[in-house]
């Protein structure tokens, strides 16, 4: 953005479009709910459906039991059921026995099955595992452990957490009888004498039991009570991650679904060869300028609040004027007087010359997107023909010659490249010359295509400058065999194909035998050459198009002609610093052209920036000067470059020479 004044009025109204601010949040809630449900379901799967209602999962010894084993629905506490399997283990301590008889102390008070039932398991293979509610941890046995229990047996030693004791006892109080049981070094109580005193134990399997208890004590000493938290963190994190992943996936799929929904309806293109003109109902026309702004060729103008077709010759016949009219006052009506173009088959092959295809504006249609479609179709048809001609066609140097690098030619070239045909594109001027000649900032391509029809080069609502730039990038990236500045002189039928003769940039001749030819030459025609002597040395300085005015800064140039193209060239050159511009015109004054150009050039001439010479007939173009007769007097205009803009030869001459039928009256722009 520079400090230049704001641009002029647009040619097309902007359509409201939802920005990403609005579309970003769509589907978030649904995706989040889906992900959350997925995570929740994973949780249920992991822990079992019953675990949702449980205060915690069951650990190793009871893990296989179902809820019904302990909870039988009766009013009795589940803790009373321990006795049915384990037997009634009374306490060795009188105080505890008293409490048990009162019902204040039960199995579950110290052994909390759901919340923290812990223990040490000695497996048959010598593994030592510390287990608790929801976790298991294999311990490394300390080296100075007492005698191992019998390796052939599996032993479980239950542990009780200190927290169970400290509910009633105070660990800090020295006078408390349980103070020495609850030491700070372990989360577990290390006494193991609640149900059976050590002395009593000697009666039954003494060595095994004591050894087991000793080892369990060692394990318990170093164990942290929050082992469970660490162990379950991994699986929890996995559940959360899985839930979020599902949410993300749902969102991405939703986005893709939304993008695939399309809205616009593509208007049906007219059959090739017909010609239509706009007819405006003055009674209903609002004078809103929509059709004027939409016309790429400036054929319409608003006079006294009503639109009028000012230049019917410039009308292309099927443009966006009708679709831009807000109330249907403008309708395109078939002009019966116009003749049809060359007769073409469905696949755009000319009936007079098989193997010769036409695509784009030359078929009589218009609209860039139709040209693109036709280019693709013609390339496919040409490929079919090449395949059909087969071995005989291999003798030719090329499979396909494409004449013209406008939308149709480029689309055909890209398709041909994709199909693997040996092809070349010959363009007399620059890439997309006709689109380049649209007025500045003209909008190209109005309605979007259906998304399943992916045309290369189709871009959408875009200004012509941007369109041409993007196409240039595409052509460079695809390394299309494009020859600019090549004027095709003849396309003559030959054995198994066509003999194409052309003159490349710099006068280099070009000849090739091709199996098929696509003529995508548009309707603008070829620049007309001057009827003046041209020195060979002057040829590099002679130009028919002005592509980059900046490269002529500081030079003296002569422009021959006074039409719109000549005036625009002169204006562009005069805007460069240090240029000396002389305009040689055959007429006596300004005869035609856009008012803006005439006013601009007249103002520059009045200021002395540009020299306007009327009644000048160019006689000779030399390497350093142009000689012309001005009102009968011969004069020489020294210059470093010459631009000739004296009109265009319509393209039907090439068509006629190629042997096609009498073409339509080609519109002159």
């Amino acid at each position: 953005m520079t400090a230049a004044p704001p641009s002029e009025r647009r040619r097309r109204p902007r359509l409201a479009a939802d920005s990403s601010d609005i579309t970003r949040r769509r589907g978030w809630l649904a995706a989040a709910s889906l992900g959350a449900t997925a995570g929740f379901l994973l949780l249920v799967l992991r822990d079992g459906p019953r675990s949702l209602g449980a205060p915690g999962p069951l650990a190793r010894p009871h893990a296989a039991l179902g809820c019904a084993s302990c909870h039988d629905g009766s009013q009795a506490s589940a803790g009373d059921r321990c006795v049915s399997c384990h037997g009634n283990h009374s306490s060795t301590r009188a105080a505890h026995q008293r409490l048990a008889e009162n019902g204040e102390l039960g199995c579950a008070t110290c052994h909390a099955v759901h919340r923290s039932e812990d223990g040490v398991a000695f497996d048959a293979n010598g593994e030592v595992t510390l287990y608790g509610s929801g976790f298991e941890r294999v311990m490394v046995a300390p080296p100075t452990s007492p005698a191992r229990p019998d390796a052939s047996r599996k032993v479980l030693v239950p542990l009780v957490r200190s927290a169970a004791c400290t509910r009633c006892h105070e660990a800090a109080n020295d006078r408390d009888p349980a103070a020495h049981c609850v030491s700070g070094e372990s989360a577990f109580s290390l006494c193991f004498d609640e149900h059976r005193l050590p002395a009593q134990a000697s009666a039954r399997a003494p060595a095994l039991r004591d050894a087991a208890i000793e080892r369990a004590r060692t394990v318990a000493r170093g164990a942290r009570a929050d082992a469970g938290a660490v162990a379950s963190f991994g699986s929890d994190a996995a559940v959360v991650a899985a839930g979020l992943g599902v949410a993300g996936l749902a969102l991405a799929l939703d986005r893709r679904r939304r993008r695939a929904v399309l809205r616009a309806v593509v208007p049906v293109p007219p059959p090739p060869g017909t010609r239509r003109l706009p007819v405006i109902d003055a009674a209903t026309c609002l004078g809103c300028q929509a059709c004027v702004d939409a016309c790429p060729y400036d054929a319409l103008v608003v006079k006294r609040y009503v639109a009028v077709l000012e230049r019917p010759d410039a009308c292309c016949g099927a443009g966006p004027c009708q679709s831009s009219c807000p109330n249907g006052s403008l309708k395109l009506v078939t002009d019966g007087a116009a003749a049809a173009g060359p007769r073409l088959s469905e696949t755009l092959e000319s009936e007079a010359r098989p193997g010769l295809f036409l695509a784009g504006d030359v078929t009589g249609g218009s609209l860039v997107r139709n040209a693109l479609r036709q280019g693709v179709r013609a390339a496919h048809a040409a490929a079919a023909r090449v395949a059909g001609v087969g071995a005989r066609g291999d003798a030719n140097e090329l499979d396909l010659v494409i004449v013209g690098a406008g939308p149709a030619g480029l689309a055909a070239a890209l398709t041909a490249q994709a199909l693997g045909l040996r092809s070349v594109v010959l363009e007399q001027g620059r890439l997309a010359e006709s689109i380049h000649s649209f007025s500045r900032q003209k909008l190209v391509l109005d309605a979007p295509l259906p998304t399943d029809e992916k045309l290369p080069l189709f871009i959408g609502d875009v200004h012509k400058e941007e369109l041409v730039q993007r196409w240039q990038r595409t052509v460079r990236a695809a390394r299309l065999p494009l020859r600019e500045g090549a004027r095709v002189l003849e396309v003559a039928p030959a054995a198994h194909g066509f003999h194409v003769r052309a003159e490349l940039a710099g006068g280099v001749p070009f000849e090739a035998l091709a199996t098929a030819v696509i003529l995508a030459i548009g309707t603008r025609g070829t620049p007309r050459a001057l009827a003046a002597t041209l020195d060979e040395a002057a040829r590099p300085h002679l130009h028919y198009e002005l592509s980059d005015a900046r490269s002529f800064a500081g030079r003296s140039v002569v422009v021959v002609g006074l039409g719109d193209v000549a005036m625009e060239s002169a204006l562009a050159l005069a805007a460069q610093p240090g240029t000396e511009v002389t305009v040689l015109a055959r007429g006596a004054g300004f005869l035609r052209g856009r008012k803006r150009n005439i006013d601009g050039l007249a103002a520059l001439a009045a200021r002395g920036r540009v020299r306007l010479v009327f009644e000048a007939e160019v006689v000779r173009i030399g390497p350093r000067a142009v000689e012309a007769r001005v009102a009968g007097v011969g004069r020489s205009f020294p210059c470093e470059a010459v631009f000739v803009h004296v009109g265009r030869v319509p393209s039907h001459e090439l068509l006629a020479r190629a042997g096609l039928a009498e073409p339509a009256r080609v519109a002159r722009k």
Binding site: M1, A3, P5, P6, E8, R10, R11, R12, P13, R14, L15, A16, A17, D18, S19, S20, D21, I22, R24, W28, A31, A32, S33, A36, T37, F40, L43, L52, G53, A54, P55, G56, P57, S116, G134, F135, A163, D226, G228, A229, S232, F233, D236, V239, V240, L244, A247, L251, A283, T284, L286, G287, C288, Q289, A290, Y305, V306, P326, N327, R607
Partner: protein, 733 residues
């Protein structure tokens, strides 16, 4: 309208179609005795016709009575004029008003355009006199001489971007600016802005030289041409008027120069570039970029309310000083794409059916029933504020497309975008009153909006107090949690659990609560007071609740949660708290950094295009350079561009793009050992392009930081809700 007198000389002779069009465009009005149709100074866009009763037009010069089938208000025929008289109703009267543009079209269709031409000419002259009379030049001249002068001069109508005269052109006329803004750039690139009542090109015309500057119309402008002879006469007869005009212009130009100097060093655009937009706006929608968290809630609320979005967060970024409460503050503002209700709207005269009208306060409204979807208004608006969209089914009007633009949410309790902003960054301001630069550059010539329709300045929020409160709340709660780290006490667990649950429910219902005011307003259809701060309050409440909930949960669950639902629940909660905390932190820290890196307001979907353009610029320019520069690029610039952590460094260093360019240039200098930089001409542009790459990547990084955590937070909170339900059910068994 049942009765419709086409007896008025203007309207008789309209055929049925013309009458139908007139009926559609006309707005009927009933006035009681003594009520005013309009007052002096009101914007004038419509012509009034009297159906019944009579109207008294009061001007300082005298009064005139308009009877039945008469018409008045023809100053509207001059575009941009304001009412010159007060129109009072004598007795009960029934009137209708028609937008002038529509009337002209209807008459032209009927072939009777000539009727308005003379009246239009007179009206225009009178309007020019009225406008000029309010300026120093007009005041010094006096009314009669001014009228005589205006009658002799030729008017020139220029549209935006056109050059009134160019430097080195022979000076044949001086110009008196009547309306619009003219920018004059002299050879030293010094720009001056000329508005109503200023004389342009005086010296050159007087001395019969050529102009020494180029004058461009920044908007649609109307000027009167003063040929040399008339200028000489004027200088002879009224030298003091000319001198006075020159003096005021000089004073203003000096002020402008001073303002420009003040901001010369800034990297971002200054008000001078956007002066035309700022001076023509009556209610400018601006977003304060240091507070904006790029969430897009404003655009979303607008789209939800109206069906199509009327606001887009794209536009120019300008640093302006805003009048805010008692003081001034320099803020980086984004001028969003939304209707700014211009003083002289470009869209209004373009509408062929008169669907665009203005009310007395100056707000520009669009009637969808009259809109035909032709798009002329959208094409005329210089700032893309009007867009076309498919018509909603069931409304009045027949066209497929209809024009949409911001209408200040009339009929609602305030602009939805303003109340939807979580940080209070978006606001509407009147530049002539609230923006210091506009006042000083264009001066008191622009009348401030007499009836303010937006709160002054952006909403201010005091963050510090809030965070202090949070910080003060946390220690006692943490102390509570430490006292029960084992959490086996059932009562303690229950108490903290209940509190945590309640807080969690409050947090979860944030999504519902924040929509409550809007829902309430919609249900009751109130049009209450405007400009509530809305969402911002809920967001800060949510943050506060979050901090307290975290402390309570710490007390409840302690450091260990058992396996199963509880542990998952606590994990999800801590993830929520972390994401929320990080989000709050990013909302606080990121916008400022981001603003410093941005050149203009862009949306994430523009980044791809920008990147393509940058690539084109860098590689295109690179290919033109000579070998040494290419080597330099290969060793320094391209690695700089593709460094993965480069954007992170840029963000952390806090440099602006200009500073970063300087740093990179320094690095290159050091590398080259201080060799002459003359050989490396062109490397400046490359350095700039390379830095632009990194800046773009840094911007994307920061925008992602702002935008990624909300969906995460939302997903986790839904999971949290489910798990909380399961936990509560399980525990209560």
């Amino acid at each position: 309208m049942a009765e419709h007198p086409f007896a008025s000389p203007l309207l008789s002779g309209l055929d049925a179609q013309g009458r139908a069009a007139l009926r559609a465009a006309a707005r009927p009005r009933q006035l009681a005795d003594g009520a005013a149709a309009f007052a002096p100074g009101d914007p004038a866009d419509t012509l009034w016709f009297v159906v019944e009763g009579s109207i008294l037009l009061e001007t300082p010069r005298g009064s005139r009575e308009i009877g039945e089938s008469g018409h008045f208000g023809s100053e509207a025929l001059a575009r941009g004029a304001s009412r010159a008289a007060r129109a009072l109703s004598r007795g009960e009267s029934s009137l209708f008003e028609v937008p002038v543009a529509a009337l002209e079209r209807i008459l032209a269709h009927a072939g009777r355009a000539a009727l308005l031409v003379r009246e239009g000419d007179l009206a225009r002259r009178r309007a020019y006199v009225a406008e000029l009379f309010a300026t120093p030049f007009g005041q010094a001249l006096g009314e009669r001489p001014l009228e005589a002068l205006v009658a002799r001069l030729r008017e020139e109508s220029w549209s935006r971007g056109q050059r009134l005269f160019e430097a080195a052109e022979p000076a044949e006329r001086a110009l008196i600016v009547v309306s619009g803004l003219v920018k004059v750039v002299s050879s030293g690139d010094k720009a001056g802005f000329f508005a109503r009542g200023d004389l342009v090109g005086l010296e050159a015309t007087r001395a019969a030289r050529s102009y020494d500057a180029t004058a461009t119309a920044l908007g649609d402008a109307v000027v009167l041409a003063l040929p040399r002879a008339v200028l000489r006469e004027l200088s002879l007869r009224h030298p003091e008027a000319v001198a006075r005009a020159e003096r005021s212009v000089r004073a203003r130009l000096e002020k402008q120069a001073r303002v420009e100097e003040l901001y010369a060093g800034r990297a971002t655009r200054h008000a001078v570039h956007e002066l035309e937009r700022l001076s023509s706006a009556r209610s400018l929608l601006a977003i304060e970029l240091d507070a904006c968290v790029r969430c897009g809630e404003c655009a979303r609320a607008c789209a939800e309310t109206h069906g199509t979005p009327r606001l887009t967060r794209r536009g120019e970024k300008v640093v302006l000083r805003v009048v805010d409460g008692g003081g001034l503050a320099a803020r980086a503002l984004l001028l969003a794409e939304a209707c700014q209700h211009c003083r002289d709207p470009a869209c209004l005269p373009e509408c062929p059916t008169g669907a665009i009208t203005r009310d007395a306060s100056g707000a520009v409204a669009l009637d969808e029933a009259l809109c035909t979807g032709c798009g002329a208004c959208a094409k005329a608006c210089p700032w893309d504020a009007i867009r076309l969209a498919p018509r909603a089914p069931g409304g009045a009007g027949a066209s497929e497309l209809v024009a949409h633009k911001c209408d200040l949410c009339r009929g609602r309790s305030g602009p939805e975008c303003v109340s939807a902003c979580p940080t209070g960054a978006i606001f509407r301001a009147d530049p002539a009153r609230d923006l210091v630069e506009v006042r000083s550059l264009v001066g008191a010539l622009e009348r401030a909006n007499p009836k303010p329709d937006a709160p002054r300045g952006p909403a201010r929020r005091s963050q510090a107090l809030r965070w202090l409160f949070c910080a003060a709340l946390v220690p006692p709660l943490l102390a509570l949690s430490r006292s029960a780290s084992d959490a086996t006490d059932a009562l303690h667990a229950l108490a903290t659990g209940v509190v945590a649950g309640v807080l969690a429910l409050a947090l979860l219902s944030h999504g519902v609560l924040k929509r409550l005011p809007r829902l309430r307003a919609r249900l009751s259809g109130r049009t209450g007071e405007r400009g509530k701060r809305g969402l911002a309050r809920f967001v800060s409440a949510h943050a506060l609740l979050g901090v307290s909930a975290a402390a309570v949960v710490l007390a409840h669950a302690g450091h260990h949660a058992t396996h199963g639902v509880a542990s998952l629940l606590s994990l999800v909660f801590w993830l929520l708290a972390a994401s929320g905390g990080l989000g709050a932190l990013s909302y606080r820290l990121v916008p400022r950094r981001l603003t410093r890196l941005e050149r203009r307001g862009t949306l994430p979907e523009d980044h791809a295009l920008e990147r393509e353009e940058l690539e084109q610029r860098l590689y295109g320019r690179l290919s033109e350079q000579e070998r040494t520069v290419k080597e330099l690029a290969r060793t320094v610039l391209l690695p700089y561009v593709s460094a993965l952590l480069g954007p992170v460094w840029l963000v952390l260093s806090g440099r602006t793009p200009a500073a970063e360019e300087a740093a990179l240039a320094c690095r290159i200098e050091r590398l080259l050992g201080g060799r002459s930089s003359a050989r490396l001409a062109g490397s400046d542009a490359l350095v700039r392009a390379a830095v632009a790459f990194r800046v773009l990547a840094a911007r994307r990084l920061l925008e992602r930081a702002l935008a990624l955590w909300p969906p995460l937070h939302l997903a986790l909170s839904v999971l949290f809700a489910l798990l909380l339900a399961a936990h509560v059910v399980g525990v209560s068994r």
